[in-house]
Amino acid sequence: MPAIPSHVPEPSRTDPALIRNFCIIAHIDHGKSTLADRMLQLTGVVEQRQMRAQYLDRMDIERERGITIKSQAVRLPWAPTHDEGNTHILNMIDTPGHVDFTYEVSRSLAACEGTVLLVDAAQGIEAQTLANLYLAMENDLTIIPVLNKIDLPAAQPEKFAEELANLVGCDPDDVLKVSAKTGLGVEALLDRVVAEIPAPVGVKDAPARAMIFDSVYDSYRGVVTYVRVIDGQLNKRERIRMMSTGATHELLEIGTNSPEMLPADGLGVGEVGYLITGVKDVRQSKVGDTVTSQHKGAEEALGGYKDPKPMVFSGLYPLDGSDYPELREALDKLQLNDAALVYEPETSAALGFGFRVGFLGLLHLDVIRERLEREFGLDLIATAPNVVYRVLMEDGTEHTVTNPSEFPEGKISEVYEPVVRATILAPSEFIGSIMELCQTRRGVLLGMDYLSEDRVEIRYTLPLAEIVFDFFDQLKSKTRGYASLDYEPTGEQTSSLVKVDILLHGDKVDAFSAITHKDAAYAYGVRLVAKLRELIPRQAFEVPIQAAIGSRVIARETIRAIRKDVLAKCYGGDISRKRKLLEKQKEGKKRMKMVGSVEVPQEAFIAVLSSDESAGSGKGKK
């Protein structure tokens, strides 16, 4: 291991020519965190004994699921192997690795001049990585292609080097081969970063302009904002201004991460670090926004700022209605750290009080729901995720529908639904089954390219509604887990969409209403009605279950009335047992939701709303 460099330039006094800002683009499990760990060790910022696996991933869920949701930036001093006297500063910006966070990824990329494209030598590139690679190319980033896990017996470095070379436009020999696990090739990679990635260029004497690429809530310190300084300099204790809102804050602390927070005098051109202003809510420190000095600040913000826009909505309801205040509090807390999370109170006749929550996408939904359940101990019912529809009526009025039960009645002229451009990468043997799946999901083929001899990139336009349910699971199962998926919203289209209502004993159950394509409505109705018949226990009276479009019934089942509900015997004078049985049954009854006069067990809602095979344009996790 090389010696720790001695003359390390300090923040605010670092020559931009010595700075290299880079990120790592990689798929989940391709070893990004392990590589980052190795870099922390090699550059000496984390001592061996302090090292814990995947140092940079903070949250438990990230650690468990092996994914990074929130990025961070670490300042690494590195003296190149053949130029040891010349210590450089490498700022490694850890990008989120998932499709839902494309905007955050794009801001992280905008903070860099180059990127390490890290690909598993046994698996090849995946769709999300490819999408992020394209994003990096659009941002004119220098790309260093790297194959990881070359120590694995299943590694095929030649094959995948070829693939990467084709994508990046380099020679296969230029693809670095490393093992983040053993450390093999990591020093050479750091040298390549210094040699190939351009130094940042900015105007030193201009008013300060820094771009926020991440913003994290810390319960002790408030919001920690990560920035990349483009022009000028930010200094400690000055007042700063957020250019999108004009809000000003005092800079309580400014510094860099190595990897713990280290206060500094300031940050100069090209530098990456953190700011603390005492604000308590990440929505006051938005990713993509420009930070400038209050005094003699910049006039013009940096480009590229966007407000996060929720794409997928789901109703979240506490299983136990009395947990509603806790759910509100938990959402409030999560929002402190998640500017993309939006919610408003909603009342469902079937599920009681809850919230309609908007998410960037499916992973975002999954992560939030899991955090609510795990960190806040809440038991939740989540309604089937749906997209946002725009409904034009014949009388010229327009409705925005985020909840299927609000789909307007009356004469509708057009319904618009969001569409995405989906990219699927898979071994070519699965082309047939992938196309079949996309076809049944109303997909339109955009094109197909071979990445290598036996791997293809297939592009489709798909309604977002068709992939928010079980599309990914289906894709995985049809390709034995080999396919990867990425998508980006591209706009909207008009479609023949209808609302299917489910009626229990004549009463509409709002939680089960769904908007589907008219060709899928019948199948959805039949399946849901059959499923409910199984799940709802027999009642004192006969209960018809119907699926209907407007007033037209498209499917019907009947739950027969219960005829016997009595224990024949008295258990030999053990009345205590009988009373306890009654108490238990009463508890069970409490867990029932009354829908009109029908008792529906919570389990029925959960099963219908979360089960994978339950519905056509249907339902399900992921």
């Binding site: 004192a540 009276f541 219960i562 005829r563 016997k564 509900d565 009595v566 224990l567 024949a568 015997k569 008295c570 258990y571 030999g572 004078g573 053990d574 009345i575 205590s576 047992r577 009988k578 009373r579 306890k580 009654l582 049954q585 009463k586 009854k589």
Partner: protein, 413 residues
Amino acid sequence: MEHMPSALPDGEPVPADGALPASALAGAADRPLGFYLHVPYCATRCGYCDFNTYTATELRGSGGVLASRDNYAETLVDEVRLARKVLGDDPREVRTVFVGGGTPTLLAADDLVRMLGAIREEFGLAADAEVTTEANPESVDPAYLEVLREGGFNRISFGMQSARQHVLKVLDRTHTPGRPERCVAEARAAGFDHVNLDLIYGTPGESDDDWRASLDAAIGAGPDHVSAYALIVEEGTRLARRIRRGEVPMTDDDVHADRYLITEEMLSAAGFDWYEVSNWATSEAGRCLHNELYWRGADWWGAGPGAHSHVGGVRWWNVKHPGAYAAALAEGRSPGAGREVLSEEDRRVERILLELRLSEGVPLSLLRAEGLAAAGRALTDGLLQRGPYEEGRAALTLRGRLLADAVVRDLVD
């Protein structure tokens, strides 16, 4: 048929001397007192049975105390004496005695008479006391019945279950069809005033016609009381395992409902009236008074391993194992394993739970506003009878009897 479940409830401990809180004895003189005597022995265990019963003839408790069939009556008499001490100067004579099991008739008839004698000595028997024993059709003969009758027993209950061989086989009952009916005649000849036949319906493989044949046979034998219970498949029994393995089919609840309707139809045509969900009698006098004590929240002392007692809002239960039971009594300790002192609300709920099962029903005055509203709905839904309702009582209709537990759940609100 007495049912002694295999698992005991949780509760607070019973004091070593078995003493009851003073509240339990307050106003005792106005309540009838009964005795239940449990005999925990069987020749073989039936596949559907989860009662506290043992097929070994000798069981040893801690300290080497031997509990055997032969000295069982002796041990049980010890508990009757303990009951006398615990109840102190309670002046009540005993109104009912019921010997259940297990198989009481596995003991010598003299043993049963001796146990009854202890109650007579310690408490005195009311002149019109009802004294019942359960009996296995296989294990009694005219001589045995005569000894019981002379010893003071005036009611006998035979475990007939079914008149069909294939049904008896699934239930592991060893008696031959026809034997229980002859037992009735023998009991009548011995001078028993009251005779009951226990029947079980809904056994896997039983058809509606099998069940009609069983009812016909029972009615033809001329008892003045019939108990008909739906077969409950209890967890942990051999029958439950056989059903799980698919060796015999599980009976559907709708089939149980059909059989119950057949029961009501045939028994009422034969002159029986229901007075409790699973019990029918030919007259007021034919009702099992002891059974009614349970449903009416009266006092009874349950003696024997695993037996349950209730006195004035205190319920307690004995240790289950005959060895542990005998050991406790040998040391002069109460064999009580646990007890609970009921709150006012517990007692209200229990009254609704228990009395609703009786043909007289439960006073509407016991219900709170929500329960009253539920009763109104139950009336409209045809689950409660209009006549009694208008006189301030919730009494079940035939359909209501089949849904009694559901009605209770609403009425206790």
